[in-house]
Symmetry: C2
Subunit: 130 residues, 2 copies
């Protein structure tokens, strides 16, 4: 009986430590292929409540299949005039294209992006090997 | 004797699983305070070898105290005319300021940034709570 408990404990210990390393390494490596970002500025008519609604709606984009590491961001550099940002990652170009065509994305563009956003710039990155 | 081994195993198992969760959560949350990014375009005189030297030099910026998650990036969106990007994170404003004043950073600006870069835009983000 005691031997069985011992074996179970050893397996659990090994698995716990192995998992710890595997998960940490996976997250540290951040193997994204495409990071899609957009930096933007609201129209003057967009007050703080409207802005909040915008970001609540934007967060739903994170539920579109393939969207990883979705982030709502505040732009704080004084060297440009944009106010906010969105960032998300995709494993490949196909998944990025599917995201663009997703009804939830198209609905967000029509209901929030076009009426709320005054100016924006899209910047997409892929890792540079060096 | 067997009891001692059992206790050690139980402690290891608990610690392994606890560590696994703690590390995973810490990395998942990505508790950066400032993400400093710059998107840029090289001067036409910068060939591929010069560009490679630039990124080797840029990578040394990651050794400046407080620099986290340093990334060299290729800009791939056709909706802007920039070619590359650098991204790094700082825990707070003070560490970001110290980075800016660091001799290694100032040397990089003089030896590589000014002579190599034609156009650029700095975009700094902080997480937006919503």
């Amino acid at each position: 009986m005691k031997n069985n408990v011992l074996i179970i404990c050893l397996i659990t210990a090994f698995f716990g430590l192995y998992e710890s390393n595997a998960q940490t390494n996976m997250l540290k490596q951040k193997k994204f292929m495409i990071r899609h970002t957009v930096v933007f500025k609201f129209k003057p008519s967009v007050d703080s409540i409207a802005a909040q609604n915008f970001f609540v709606a934007a967060k739903r984009l994170a539920t579109i299949p393939g969207v990883q590491n979705f982030e709502s961001l505040r732009q704080i550099s004084k060297k440009n005039h944009y106010e906010f940002g969105l960032s998300m990652e995709f494993a490949n170009e196909t998944i990025y294209e599917q995201y663009n065509k997703d009804p939830l994305h198209e609905q967000f563009i029509q209901q929030y992006w076009v009426p709320f956003v005054a100016e924006f710039m899209e910047i997409d990155y892929e890792p540079l090997m060096n």
